[in-house]
């Protein structure tokens, strides 16, 4: 039953994608487009497959940067959001700065990070953290703040202190918000890593794209782009799996609604 529903949801975007690829394929062969300008999808696939070892070798560092940077972002977002929730002073002092930090162009910061921290893992992690931190922290803080006031009153009347109230009500109420933020920021994460590699790296999909571009291997640039997209989609899908594990009641509720 569930498989059928998934299928029903999946076929329209798949159909659109297939049509687009077919149109692209048709255009490149019919108009004899130079493959260094626009390779056909078949060529991208064929060359990508041929160079799969290279692609894979460059995917791993990108994935590592993404996951580590995102992990750091996760810790920082929880720390800051909890701090904002507990302290009015922190809220007044930090929140505007957090918003302001979003206006700093990563384009300018990424090369600086390379200058400061070298070509290794750390500057890439930091770029990922910078691009994903805000949606996470902001959603989490909003989630804490959206806790039902009546529920807070009830807990207080039962004798729960601030920490216990936080654990028993505020954190669980904030989790759906957190997952909303997680989905926004995870889509930025891979792009952040690729971008950081563009600014300078030894390996990774970003630097791979740049090298292939310089060698006029547009087909392999497209192949690397496809891998990047797949990574993002996989991570995006993983947030749903995680949510299902952490909030099993949500799914039970949806199923109840259907039956």
């Amino acid at each position: 039953m569930r498989a059928r529903q998934a299928l029903t949801a999946a076929w329209p975007p798949v159909l659109v994608a297939v049509l687009l690829l077919a149109g692209w394929q048709f255009y490149t062969s019919a108009a004899h487009v130079d493959p260094t300008t626009l390779p056909s999808p078949a060529r991208v696939w064929e060359q990508g497959w041929e160079n799969r070892a290279d692609l894979w070798a460059n995917t791993l560092p990108t994935l590592q940067e993404t996951l580590l940077g995102f992990g750091l972002s996760f810790l920082a977002a929880w720390t800051v959001a909890v701090l904002l929730d507990f302290s009015a002073i922190a809220r007044r002092g930090l929140y505007p700065l957090l918003v302001a930090s979003q206006t700093i162009p990563i384009v300018a910061v990424a090369p600086l990070l390379i200058i400061w921290f070298g070509f290794g893992l750390l500057p890439k992690m930091l770029v990922v953290t910078l691009t994903t931190f805000f949606p996470l922290a902001a959603n989490l803080a909003a989630g804490f703040a959206a806790t039902d006031r009546e529920a807070m009153r009830l807990l207080r009347s039962l004798g729960a202190g601030r920490l216990r109230t936080f654990r028993l009500v505020r954190v669980p109420s904030a989790l759906p918000y957190f997952f909303a933020g997680l989905r926004v920021s995870i889509t930025y994460a891979v792009i952040g890593a690729v971008f950081a590699e563009y600014a300078g790296a030894e390996s990774g999909l970003g630097i791979y794209m740049q090298e292939q571009k310089s060698a006029f291997r547009t087909d392999l640039v497209f192949a690397a782009v496809a891998v990047t997209a797949l990574l993002s989609i996989a991570l995006f899908g993983a947030t749903y799996l995680l949510q299902r594990l952490v909030l099993p009641w949500e799914r039970a509720m949806k199923q109840e609604g259907r039956s």
Binding site: E150, A151, L154, R156, L158, G159, P172, W249, M253
Partner: protein, 290 residues
């Protein structure tokens, strides 16, 4: 957490019968320019079922906040078993109007929440809560989520969460207000039965005159803001009360008396009782202001 927690076993360590379980004396409370309560007196005996009824906006929730210790009065005192009510002494268990069952907790975990909130370990809390499931008609629903329960069951779960704390005073804030009338009647009969069985001391706030008469020993009628108790009416119905009670002439008569007090804003202590009712004329004395 204190070793001598009053009310750990309500009923067994009750102080003398002369000492009220809950004693609200001359309580006033205002918020800025808004006078909500002024000189409110109210007293509840151990094991008594008291109802507080009043026009909407008459400060019932303010009264509740004071009794549960969430808020402090500007003047007057709130005593539970002779000691001032405050949050830490854990004398009052409060059941809010909304059931406030958390969607992310199973029914069992929801009913254990009150204990967890006061610091009981989770396992112990669940063990104590589960012991009441059968009596509350919730057996078999321990692992369900609140949205899978009917309205009446949700209220019973919320009451279980309150009762399992075994505090000396139960404070129920319009617990059945959101239910349809059929379920509400069912729940009222059930609550009457549970009260009979467990001997709780209950303060029930309600808009519903019939509910007050059906359930309470004593009905305290509030004036509009700034609120005080304008009249305390004893309900002369026998216990245990079932649906038959509704047919008792005393039921309608008591309802009528409460309605009269609520409608007549300028109630005087020596108010003349209208002749068109079949009220025994030797009775109004007990309805006087206390």
């Amino acid at each position: 957490m204190s070793p001598t927690r009053a009310g750990e076993h309500p009923g067994t360590d009750a102080p003398g019968p002369d000492l009220p379980r809950l004693d609200v004396r001359g309580v006033s409370k205002s918020f800025g320019p808004l006078d909500v309560l002024r000189g409110l007196d109210l007293s509840v005996r151990p094991g008594e079922f008291a109802a507080v009824i009043g026009p909407s906006g008459s400060g019932k929730s303010t009264l509740f906040n004071l009794v549960s210790g969430l808020d402090a009065p500007d003047a007057g005192t709130v005593l539970v078993d002779g000691a001032p009510a405050d949050l830490r002494s854990r004398q009052v268990a409060y059941m809010p109007q909304k059931d406030l069952l958390f969607p992310w907790r199973t029914v069992l975990d929801n009913t254990a929440l009150g204990l967890e909130a006061q610091g009981t370990r989770r396992r112990e809390a669940r063990k104590r809560a589960v012991g009441l499931f059968e009596a509350f008609g919730l057996d078999g629903f321990q692992g369900s989520y609140p949205f899978q329960l009917s309205g009446g069951m949700r209220q019973r779960a919320a009451l279980l969460r309150t009762v399992v704390l075994e505090r000396p005073v139960l404070l129920l804030d319009e617990p059945f207000g959101a239910l349809d009338s059929l379920t509400r009647t069912e729940m009222q009969l059930w609550l009457a039965e549970m009260w009979q069985r467990y001997g709780w001391t209950v303060v029930l706030v309600t808009h519903d005159i019939r509910e007050a008469v059906m359930l309470a020993d004593t009905v305290h009628v509030l004036s509009p803001r700034p609120a005080r108790v304008v009249q305390t009416i004893e309900v002369p119905l026998a216990r245990p009360r079932g649906l038959d009670a509704l047919a008792d002439p005393a039921f309608a008569e008591t309802e009528r008396r409460i309605l009269d007090v609520l409608q007549d804003r300028d109630v005087l202590p020596d108010r003349h009782v209208p002749q068109d009712r079949d009220v025994p004329q030797d009775r109004p004395a007990e309805a006087g202001i206390r």
